[in-house]
């Protein structure tokens, strides 16, 4: 169907067509998504393959110096006349070996061998529970008098330092490959008869044409330490039995494979049912929380933006004041207001009606959190869309009026497409934000009410507040890690697909 066919349809047909094409587009989008993943991995493997090929061919073509640098880092560079560079490589190799011997190798081995993880019967290292090491009875006091318990390794330490060692090793591997490349490159330059660049000159390059590398080094290091390391650590945790009964340093935990994932999806009835119910509610919540705010925010902005409304600035300020009050303050006040014996219910009972269990009955609580969230969220949408409304060229409306369009038509043809186009990415981030909207739920209901068929959760709990409860209250760290991974996957896939399907990403050049 081309544009002409589309333009000839009635409004109803157009809406139907759009809805139809949205849903028929979903399988394609999902397929594209997986194709993209496929392409990514293909590219990755090609890259790795090429890397190995280059690694091998460099060795074959290399002279004695290049070959030597495969074992003694920096040897090639030094033989080819780059003393400073070669020394740097050599130092990094020595430093890495020292690091591994004194620190890293210990944790690489312990992750499996010394029994900290393997199974309950072979626990050896760092266990103080059953029989503390160096256990001795004091003749007077009759209890242990060892004071070196804090020097023992525990599961957390081993796992964390294992991840650290792996990261350091990966970094070292990159340096090692660079070393062979650099040795070969200097060999070629020497073969040409010219002299390779000196150390100082090369260092100067980092302030000049390779300045981006210098700039990026701190952010990348920060990213590795504060983002990649904890994420890997958490992912590993999902495959252990790190729960209340296995808390280091008093107790150890060990690998259990995919048991936790199985628990969440099918093998434990209670956990899988809780997960199912919470997942469904999370999506319902995210949908309503996002679109109620969006729609009512726009309506409010339109109302204020209307020509014949006086004191526009005043009204806008009034509504922004609700956003200026810290969110948690508003939420805690709402919680007090809506309590079973709170002021709102006092008024209701005072009128002779029976009290409403706003926060203590499942369905009521769910509606309450959505409505209260509107109070908190609408001002933001109003602010953003008022800005947009003021930016829509007035001549569009003028020509529409000349063509005889009424206010509703102007809204559906000009205003809404314009706003929707600009705000789709915002909607996606809000949706993802709402999936992880901790504050509203935590401060308002705390996840409650909590009937007995929920595992460590309640009827208004989102995945993310459930995760919080699992870590803080019941210390099921392994389960929480699984939930964390699932939330990440849902948010990542969901937002990638919707963003790729949105007009804003398809036609970046045009409006509507």
């Amino acid at each position: 169907m081309d544009f002409l066919d589309y333009a000839q349809m009635t409004t109803g047909q157009k809406v139907a067509y759009n809805i139809k094409s949205f849903f028929t587009g979903i399988p394609g989008a999902i397929a594209n998504f997986f194709k993209a993943i496929g392409r990514f991995f293909k590219a990755l493997f090609t890259l790795i393959g090429n890397g190995f090929k280059g690694y091998g061919s460099r060795f074959i073509k290399g002279d004695i110096g290049t070959k030597l640098s495969y074992v003694i880092m920096g040897a090639g560079s030094m033989i080819h006349g780059q003393i400073g560079k070669g020394l740097c490589f050599l130092v990094s190799e020595i430093a890495y070996i020292y690091f591994m011997i004194t620190f890293g190798i210990n944790f690489l081995l312990k992750i499996y061998s010394t029994g900290v993880y393997v199974d309950e019967n072979t626990l050896v290292d760092g266990v103080i529970g059953k029989e503390p090491p160096n256990y001795e009875l004091d003749p007077i006091f009759g209890a242990r008098t060892v004071t070196n318990l804090d020097t023992l390794d525990d599961s957390n330490k081993i796992l964390l330092f294992f991840v650290l060692t792996v990261l350091v090793s990966v970094a070292f591997f990159a340096v090692y490959i660079t070393n062979t490349k650099s040795a070969y490159a200097s060999q070629l330059i020497k073969a040409e008869g010219s002299k390779p660049v000196g150390f100082i000159a090369e260092m100067k390059m980092f302030l000049d044409e390779r300045f981006h590398v210098t700039l990026l080094i701190i952010p990348v290091l920060g990213l590795l330490t504060f983002t990649v390391l904890p994420i890997l650590y958490t992912i590993f945790m999902a495959f252990t039995n790190y729960d209340k009964a296995h808390q280091p340093p008093g107790n150890m935990y060990w690998w259990v494979g995919f048991q936790n994932f199985a628990d969440v999806f099918y093998s434990s009835q209670l956990k899988s049912q809780t997960f199912g119910k919470i997942l469904v509610w999370t999506i319902i919540w995210a949908f309503f929380a996002t679109f109620t705010n969006f729609i009512f925010g726009i309506i409010l902005a339109l109302l204020i933006n209307k020509k014949d409304i006086k004191f526009k600035g005043f009204w806008r300020t009034m509504f922004v004041v609700t956003a200026a009050v810290p969110q948690f303050v508003t939420l805690l006040i709402m919680k007090l207001l809506l309590a079973d014996a709170g002021p709102v219910n006092s008024v209701i009972t005072g009128m002779g009606l029976s009290a409403v269990p706003f926060l203590t009955d499942g369905m009521h609580a769910r509606i309450t959190v959505i409505v209260v969230n509107m109070w908190v969220g609408i001002p933001y949408t109003m602010l953003i869309s008022s800005g947009l409304l003021m930016n829509i060229p007035e001549d569009l409306y003028e020509s529409a009026r000349i063509d005889g369009a009424n206010a509703f038509q102007q809204f559906t043809k000009i205003t809404f497409p314009y706003i929707f186009f600009v705000m789709t990415p915002y909607l996606i981030t809000t949706f993802v934000g709402n999936i992880n909207n901790f504050n509203v739920i935590y401060f308002l209901t705390g996840g409650g009410p909590s009937p007995a068929d929920y595992y460590q959760a309640g009827q208004t709990d989102l995945l993310v507040t459930w995760l919080y409860k699992l870590t803080i209250n019941s210390k099921d760290y392994n389960l929480a890690a699984v939930i964390g991974i699932i939330v990440f996957v849902i948010c990542a896939i969901g937002s990638l697909i919707t963003f790729n399907m949105s007009k804003a990403s398809k036609n970046e050049e045009e409006f509507s």
Binding site: P139, I140, T147, A245, P451, S474, K475
Partner: protein
């Protein structure tokens, strides 16, 4: 040479002490102190079950911790521990912020008492009120190595601490004294599977009944929960009993005969039985009056707020709550109108049964990972001894746990204390009843649901929920 003789003497003394302490036992399987493999305190596990064998046989035959002899021994140990850590004994103490000033004076006394004779060590004890009794256990479990050496905590955290092996068992010297000096219920609350893990401090952390004497004329008016609700309803007021909280609603399960036991690291319950069903039905029966004579949940505002507000605006005539709300209630309705009593009876099955409760104690624990095990225990013992408890009562109004301190006349005159004393025979130690998981499971949520729906449940629905609860809690 001198120290060696002292030690030999001490071994003999301890041996004698242990022998006399166990004289009342039916079994004397205890290994000699100093040569055994386990801590001496595990000996009582041989007796099995709940019954504490130390009872009468133990009292009066303990070693005086504060004798010159023992003080010298402890000081020698402190010197040893200090030497291993650079000559300074650095301890961190956590207590409630309101108690901080008072606890500091006790710590000063302790420093004076165990001052080094030859200046070979010095104390550096930092006390902090930042982490109070409700949070201390959790913080210690989170990262014991960063935690305080000596910390005050509420007894509901004991099983969590023991599970995580983050709290040190009380060493034998102090253990026998703690057992002899404090009430049996208190000692029970510090003990899990026969091993004592903490030093008792105060006994007023449990719940009982506060009531308005203008509505309930005398003690007989507060004897049965059903009657109370009726009386309150006629007066246009309510009785507050938070069924939406696992700590309070356990009263119904205990009284119905549900087993809630934590033994050998295993939690066993019998929620999914006829007794459990009876308890749930009893709650439904009471909850029918919700809103008219009965308030069964804090409605999202927290117990303390709900109770204070209720007494202030006159909607409450009685509340099941603890001493911490005493001052607020007195302020709201006038001291002369405040009555306190043990919990009433409730209709369970077809009989009126006395409601049982969780006892509530505040305890002092020693971190398993402390660098100064003996010094820390000595400090914990000092903070919890009879003299300190009496001072604490005088300064802070906290009811003691020591027999001697309790018999002190001033303490006996306290009305809340009488209610606690009456309730104590019907109370259960939290450490020996529940593991930490009990609190985060929806036992409270289920009670809250009963109240919200005003008890409109079929037996099958109740059974289903009870089965799910048991599945979640049992290990």
């Amino acid at each position: 040479m001198v120290t060696k003789t002292k030690r030999v003497l001490a071994v003999i003394l301890t041996g004698m002490m242990a022998a006399t302490a166990l004289a009342g036992c039916t079994q004397t399987t205890k290994t000699e102190s100093g040569s055994g493999t386990g801590t001496a305190s595990t000996a009582s596990t041989a007796d099995g079950g709940e019954s504490k064998s130390e009872g009468d046989g133990g009292s009066g035959s303990t070693v005086d911790v504060y004798s010159d002899e023992m003080t010298a021994n402890i000081k020698a140990k402190m010197k040893e521990e200090a030497a291993a850590n650079g000559g300074t004994i650095e301890l961190k103490v956590w207590c409630a912020s309101a108690d901080l000033k008072f606890e500091k004076t006790l710590i000063e006394e302790f420093k004076e008492l165990y001052k080094s004779d030859d200046g070979s060590y010095e104390f550096k004890i930092r006390s902090s009120g930042a982490i109070g009794e409700p949070d201390a256990g959790g913080k210690i479990v989170e990262s014991p190595k960063d935690g305080a050496d000596v910390f005050n905590f509420a007894d509901d955290q004991l099983s969590t601490l023991v599970e995580a092996k983050a709290i040190a068992p009380v060493i034998e010297l102090f253990n026998s004294n703690v057992k002899a000096n404090n009430t049996k219920e208190t000692v029970d609350a510090c003990t899990i599977d026969g091993t004592a893990y903490a030093f008792p401090k105060t006994s007023d952390n449990g719940y009982f009944l506060y009531y308005d004497k203008r509505v309930f004329k005398d003690d007989s008016a507060v004897a049965s929960l059903d009657d109370m609700i009726k009386t309150a309803k006629d007066a246009g007021k309510n009785v507050y009993f938070n069924l939406g909280n696992a700590w309070y609603n356990a009263a119904f399960y205990f009284s119905a005969g549900v087993t809630i036991k934590y033994e050998n690291g295993k939690q066993t319950t019998t929620f999914n039985t006829d007794e459990g069903l009876n308890a749930a039905k009893a709650m439904c029966h009471v909850a029918e009056n919700a809103g008219a004579g009965f308030t069964g949940s804090d409605g999202g505002s927290g117990d303390n707020t709900a109770v204070e507000k209720g007494f202030n605006d006159g909607t409450l005539a009685a509340a099941v709550i603890g001493t911490w709300e005493g001052p607020a209630i007195k302020k709201a309705i006038g001291e002369e109108n405040v009555g306190a009593a043990k919990l009433p009876t409730a209709l369970i099955g077809d009989k009126q049964v006395q409601l049982e409760s969780f006892g509530g104690y505040k305890l002092i624990g020693v971190n398993q990972f402390t660098k100064f095990p003996v010094t820390s225990q000595a400090l914990a013992y000092y903070l919890g001894n009879t003299q300190s408890q009496l001072k604490r009562y005088a300064e802070r109004g906290l009811i003691p746990t020591s027999n001697e301190a309790l018999s002190d006349t001033k303490v006996q005159a306290d009305p809340a204390k009488k209610a606690i004393e009456d309730q104590t025979p019907f109370s259960h130690g939290q450490g020996s009843s529940v593991s930490g998981k009990y609190w985060s499971t929806n036992v409270g949520g289920f009670g809250g649901e009963i109240v919200t729906k005003k008890g409109a449940f079929t037996d099958d629905q109740l059974k289903d929920s009870l089965a799910k609860i048991q599945e979640q809690i049992d290990t």
